[in-house]
Symmetry: C2
Subunit: 451 residues, 2 copies
């Protein structure tokens, strides 16, 4: 009767249950952490009218967009969560209270060329703070705290939040009279790691037509490194030469200055003048986050400050600051690198009850009792051999087994087996519940990601 | 600069933050309850290859499907969560352990004619238990317990889980020699409430060509009502006349018999011989759930037992039992009926800190302390007048406000204002945290739905 070989489209992540449980844990940590900073959850449609979604023009992403018609409506699947946010804020402006803080964890779609680790359907986990007319730089100062909390709670310690300010970069290039070329210069300077100082200097004075002095100034500026305080001190040496630069430096100092109060350790934060973020709309602080032991992954959480979220939908000025985690890709890479903690329970249940009597009433009543305390409970009532029933618990890594036979029932106890320890004891139901809950608390102690 | 009037497509639910918070609460209750019964979360792609998704043929839904091509791939958006489950189980058969229990809460897409309360993108919240080759009827007996828990935890008490068994219906029609016509008969009998006994009898003997005796037997059978025990006793009167009927009656008795052990009160459960469920693939117990004070809503949770989940994808026999909640529609209707509890907090934060000093360090450090205890905290640091800052907390219904000025800082206290009570007291940070947590516990006491 089977007529079709089942398959899942390439570029679409579909996890087996244990991996899905791990992803759910990560999502739960994101939701809880974002909530702790006063962000409200949002859920916008995956489909939007094409003319609305593409009002700005999709740029490079335009040909990746899933676009189609239904009836006579031209529809597109969202390719990020930022454009739908812009639409949402413009559309519901009168019903929102500003600054508006929202988080959204949702699937977005990009028909990229399929390749390993690239996904066409993937989760983004975004937060944004949107102001009405203006928005304090303190919001930019708070963002590193949120990034720090997220990755710490996931279990990481060896990561770095790298921060820069677009006003510093733009102000610096304006000082040199290079405002027009700043985009080209940043793209060239970005190749520093790959092609070296000499070749970059050659490109700057060659292709881009800069003077030797200008090229020297740029390379000297980009070479500013050290502790946060050292970098900020070096930057103070440029103060007074350009207003935009000075403003950017003050902002960056504010962001760096409150880190301690926000609970961000110095070692997880770095002022880094090479961070620019490709997108044109960033106008203030910009963020990238790298795993120190896995630089090859690139930034796992990026974003920045922008001045005009929804210019295509409204004449209101809506500045904001936001960050995005490419969750599906991050999860994939963590799995590839064996960084997902295998010790955390991924079983569908905490307890499996094995009834050893014909009448299932006692087993069912016990399951009801366990569930009422929040224990995730299954009853194995299929007609199978005892060995197969044990193997079911084993294959699923269910940590506790309860055997319930005539003897136990008449004695008012249960035989509770710890599948990890291999031990078994007869306990009253209440004691078994306490025993299992204590054991689960221990099993759940570890973090999702191996730091 | 605005070039486009923002809009959201009709038939697509997009909620304002307070309503979204309510929906999130409901989803959280569903996740927790399903987990308690040993179901593992699953997340399959929203897009599938059309030939895979439509292997069975879409039937009535086929023209509602969002189908399109990308490159040369023919794609469709899923229109339910059952077909993707069938694909998943067939595809990953060797990696799954059976019985396989999964829940999935996900968006599905149907391009229905837009009308009030009908959605083109909507959440379904499904559970299914899939057996490999066979599956005990006890799983069918457990389903009413899950439905009961879900709706009880949501806050409802006046609801009824109505249960029937397709084997009883099919066996009964077979007794009368009416197996061929059983589908037509059930559709006709379904009109009983609308057109009355006499007209139904007329249709049965007229259009369908039944004898008077057959029509009488059917009407007598359908008229069997009473307590669960009364209905079961009446059905016992038919035992011995047809094997399939007898099997169905035994199954129904098993389902009804374990209710008490599963913690389902008698008044929330009814054996109802008029329940058939339209879908052909149900072969055993079928379920519908109605809100007793809102029968016009129809069934809010339906499903049943089927014998062959994935016949289009595999030759393996995969029987199962499942139920589905049309979450988006349910949420919409609850809102329309004013059944969503307005007393539950929907604010983005539990506490808003109002710094009254130039230096924000003490306020930020306090926020960090509050967040570390899990309190959802915002700091109001925008350059606004005091009155506007108060109005921000007010408009968002943030329940607690903390004022932090020079006096408080030097005295090591905070001024904590209960926005609902209108009271304000100076407390140590630790006492403020305990005070707020106690207050929040009270605020969160109510249920999401007004029972």
């Amino acid at each position: 009767m089977a007529t079709m070989t089942p398959r899942t489209l390439s570029g679409f992540m579909e996890l087996l249950p244990p991996a899905q449980q791990q992803l759910e844990r990560i999502m739960e940590i994101l939701r809880t952490t974002y909530s702790c900073y006063g962000f409200t959850p949002l859920d916008t449609p995956a489909i939007e009218a094409s003319e609305v979604l593409l009002a700005k023009g999709g740029g490079d992403t335009e040909k990746q967009i899933y676009r189609f018609t239904k009836g006579d409506t031209d529809l597109s699947l969202r390719f990020d969560l930022t454009v739908p946010l812009a639409k949402y804020v413009a559309l519901h402006y009168n019903d929102l209270v500003f600054p508006f803080r929202r988080y959204q964890i949702g699937k977005v779609y990009r028909g990229e060329r399929a390749q390993r680790g690239r996904f066409r359907e993937f989760y983004q986990a975004d937060i944004d703070i949107i102001g009405d007319g203006k928005l304090s730089v303190l919001n930019e100062a708070e963002v590193p705290a949120i990034i720090y909390q997220v990755f710490s709670k996931l279990g990481l310690s060896r990561f770095q939040i790298r921060v820069n300010n677009r006003k510093i970069l733009n102000g610096f290039y304006a000082m040199l009279g290079l405002t027009q070329q700043s985009g080209d210069i940043m793209r060239t300077v970005d190749k520093l790691d790959k092609i070296g100082t000499e070749k970059v200097a050659g490109l700057l004075t060659g292709e881009l037509g800069l003077t030797m002095e200008q090229a020297d100034e740029i390379l000297k500026f980009i070479a500013i490194t050290g502790t946060n305080q050292e970098v900020l001190t070096a930057l103070e040496g440029y103060r007074g030469r350009h207003e935009l630069f000075d403003l950017g430096l003050t902002e960056l100092s504010t962001v760096a200055g409150y880190l301690g109060d926000f609970g961000v350790p110095e070692e997880n934060f770095a002022v880094d003048l090479t961070i620019a973020r490709g997108l044109d709309y960033y106008t203030g602080t910009v963020y990238e986050t790298t795993l120190l032991d896995h630089p090859e992954i690139g930034s796992v959480c990026s974003g920045g400050r922008y001045d005009n979220l929804a210019e295509y939908y409204t004449n209101k000025q809506l500045p904001g600051v936001g960050i995005s985690i490419g969750l599906t890709r991050l999860f994939y890479v963590l799995g590839e690198q064996n960084l997902l903690n295998p010790a955390l329970p991924t079983a569908p249940a905490d307890v499996l009850i094995l009834p050893m009597t014909e009448d299932l009433s006692p087993a069912i009543a016990l399951a009801t009792e366990l569930r009422n305390t929040g224990l995730r409970t299954q009853i194995q009532w299929e007609e199978k051999k005892f060995k197969q029933k044990m193997s079911y618990a084993d294959k699923l890594s269910i940590p506790y087994l309860i055997l319930l036979g005539e003897d136990e029932i008449s004695a008012g106890v249960v035989a509770c087996k710890d599948m990890n320890a291999g031990t078994q004891e007869k306990l009253s139901p209440a004691d078994a519940i306490a025993h299992i809950q204590a054991g689960l608390a221990k099993l759940n102690e570890g973090s999702v990601i191996l730091g």
